[in-house]
């Protein structure tokens, strides 16, 4: 019994690291630009499809697919911001929300047209292989996803904290007007930020492509999962995204064990409602919207 629980929790932690990466992308975008990227789930799904496509076309390892996803999604996010998002950065919130809903519809429509509604499984070399560590039996694909995600989180964190660009980013997040005054190039920072956020989503998607069949309809679940994670951890908080991811990952895994698997999908929403009501700031929430 204990080993079952431990395995479930471990599996949840692994997934949680990936959720953390997804949430990180969302929270960076929000933290710097005060924009709520409701199309984040679509970006994750783009990553899943990139994973699916790379493996199918070139039979590369998932890590290569993830690297490709990072590059592609960064560029995608960068130009999306420059072309569309920037016009709405200072709009009232409900306009922003509606624009992003429009974007998410557009993206899922494009995916449907390109790939059709049927789920596309990604056959990775790691699929179905497991590794045993003591009483734990871990999914190798999951372990890899978590490992890479964790590494990226740490790297991103270090970059934000220690690099000069990272400092500019945090400055821009902290005080937009002040940043402009001291010469920060806010438009470029915003574009890069959005690119980073999209890249996080895309990489996470590619990493989990062996675990989830690529399907346009996954997007909404990921978007809301990302939001739950971010809100649990605190909108705008780096550490919060990570902690939120782990919390949700474990909670989801445990819920699937305790209740029926279909309840598993309901949990994030229930959690979101509870957290929004009782502690909207989350663990480390930074600012009010």
């Amino acid at each position: 019994m204990l080993s079952l629980w431990l395995n479930v929790v471990a599996s949840g932690i692994l997934m949680g690291l990936v959720y953390g990466l997804v949430a990180l992308g969302l929270t960076i975008i929000f933290g710097v630009m005060r924009v709520v990227n409701f199309a984040h789930g679509e970006m994750v799904v783009f990553g899943v499809y990139i994973g699916y496509w790379s493996v199918r076309m070139w039979e590369v390892p998932i890590i290569a697919a993830a690297a490709l996803a990072a590059a592609v999604m960064f560029v995608f996010g960068y130009f999306l911001e420059k072309l569309i998002v920037k016009r709405f950065v200072n709009s009232p919130h409900h306009y922003q929300f509606i624009v992003f809903i429009g974007l998410s519809l557009l993206f899922s429509g494009i995916l449907l047209v390109a790939f059709g509604p049927d789920p596309r499984p990604t056959a990775s070399q790691l699929s179905f292989r497991t590794v045993s560590i003591g009483i734990l039996t871990l999914d190798l694909a999951r372990l890899q996803a978590a490992g890479v995600a964790g590494l990226l989180i740490v790297m991103l964190g270090a970059y934000l904290k220690y690099s000069s660009f990272g400092r500019s980013l945090r400055a821009a997040a902290n005080n937009r007007l002040g940043g402009l005054i001291v010469g920060l190039i806010i438009p470029r920072i915003y574009a890069i930020t959005f690119g980073i956020g999209a890249a996080c989503a895309g990489v996470a998607g590619a990493l989990i492509s062996p675990l989830f069949d690529a399907q346009p309809y996954l997007a909404m679940d990921f978007t809301l999962l990302a939001f739950v994670t971010v809100i649990v951890g605190g909108l705008g908080s780096f550490g919060g995204a990570l902690l939120g991811g782990l919390t949700i990952g474990v909670a989801e895994a445990v819920a699937a064990l305790m209740f029926s698997p279909s309840m598993k999908t309901a949990l994030p929403y229930a959690l979101l409602i509870i957290i929004l009501i009782f502690r909207p700031r989350g663990f480390f929430g930074v600012r009010e919207v």
Binding site: V99, L105, F107, G109, V113, A266, Y269, I277
Partner: protein, 343 residues
């Protein structure tokens, strides 16, 4: 002097509205069944869009989870009629009460704990999705298999709200008319002023004596109840209720696209917007089906939403009216704009 001025304008608006509805009535009586079915959906979403419009355009509260209320209305009618043989009239009433209460509770919880704006919108999505998943697993309401209404015999039974396509068209038309007239009346009443003040500046409104906490709950509750009424009729029209369709995000988007495209805060906006967006969506869907490419309607909706917010954030209707006024330069061109009730 300005009082008489306003009265003349007001009468002309009511006349314009009446003309529109006479035209729509003729459409219902004379068109073929495809158009009647399509327009029924347009009118239903006009009504539900108007309820959403009330909440955001006048009350200032954003909800992206209206599917929750639509679904509650649908299920109330469906369960009471199909399981207990109770007339959908009662079902509608029950649905409105249930949805109104759920909306009030959600609102109370949120605002009690200072959950506003974007967070509140996220809450509405979460609530709708949670409900959808719960209903998907609830045997009593048919779970994933859903509920099915018996096929319409074509005979009209008003007491049971059953009839053919044309019958439901006129029901939907009546709802749309009630929605537009109701919104206009509310807007001119003290509620309209107080809600708009609350929308524009909550703190300033409170300093003027507006009990914004109560009013937010009230506007959300009314919006929820209306959406439920629309949902109940939608269920009857579609003949079947599935959790994924009636409580899914798709419905929430369908509800908001009319007002957003047509004109937020205006009385005719949801009608114009639904007229523009919903047939296009159906067209794209049909096109996609015939070409074997699903997703065209998503792309269409996405492009429409982005374009409207980008180029015509006020919506199509106000822009049309401005253009018409520029050409005609006459009083008749004034839109039924709820925000400018005093002009």
């Amino acid at each position: 002097m300005s009082e008489k001025f306003n009265k003349a304008a007001e009468t002309k608006r009511w006349i314009a509205g009446a003309i529109v509805f006479v035209i729509l009535g003729l459409v219902g009586a004379l068109s073929n069944s495809y158009i009647v079915s399509l327009m029924t959906i347009v009118l239903l979403f006009t009504f539900m869009g108007q309820s959403w419009n009330l909440m955001l355009g006048i009350g200032g509260q954003l909800s992206i989870g209206h599917a929750l209320f639509v679904g509650l209305g649908a299920y109330s009618v469906g369960v009471l009629y199909l399981k207990y043989g109770i007339s959908p009239w009662i079902g509608l009433l029950a649905g409105m009460v249930i949805a109104g209460s759920v909306g009030a509770v959600l609102a109370w919880l949120s605002f009690r704990f200072e959950v506003h704006g974007i967070y509140f919108a996220l809450l509405t999505i979460a609530a709708a999705e949670f409900a959808r998943i719960m209903f998907s697993g609830w045997e009593f309401v048919g779970a994933m298999q859903g509920l099915f209404f018996p096929a319409p015999t074509g005979e009209v039974d008003i007491s049971m709200l059953r009839g053919g396509a044309r019958f439901y068209y006129f029901v939907a038309l009546a709802l749309a008319a009630i929605g537009i007239a109701g919104t206009e009346l509310i807007s001119r009443s003290y509620l309209g002023y107080v809600w708009r003040a609350m929308r524009d500046d909550d703190e300033a409104a409170r300093a003027l004596g507006v009990r914004t906490f109560r009013h937010k709950i009230l506007v959300i509750s009314i919006s929820a109840a209306s959406a439920a009424a629309g949902g109940g009729i939608l269920a009857l029209v579609q003949g079947a209720i599935f959790p994924d369709s009636i409580m899914g995000m798709g419905i929430s988007v369908d509800v908001l696209i009319g007002p957003v495209v047509g004109g937020l805060g205006t009385a005719f906006g949801p009608l114009v917007g639904s007229l523009a967006a919903i047939p296009l969506n159906h067209l794209m869907g049909a096109l996609g089906d015939s070409l074997g490419i699903p997703g065209l309607n998503n792309i269409a909706y996405g492009v429409i939403l982005i374009s409207v917010v980008w180029f015509l954030p006020d919506g199509i209707w106000p822009a049309v009216v401005r253009g018409y006024a520029a050409i005609k330069g006459s009083l008749f061109a004034r839109p039924l704009k709820l925000r400018k009730a005093e002009e």
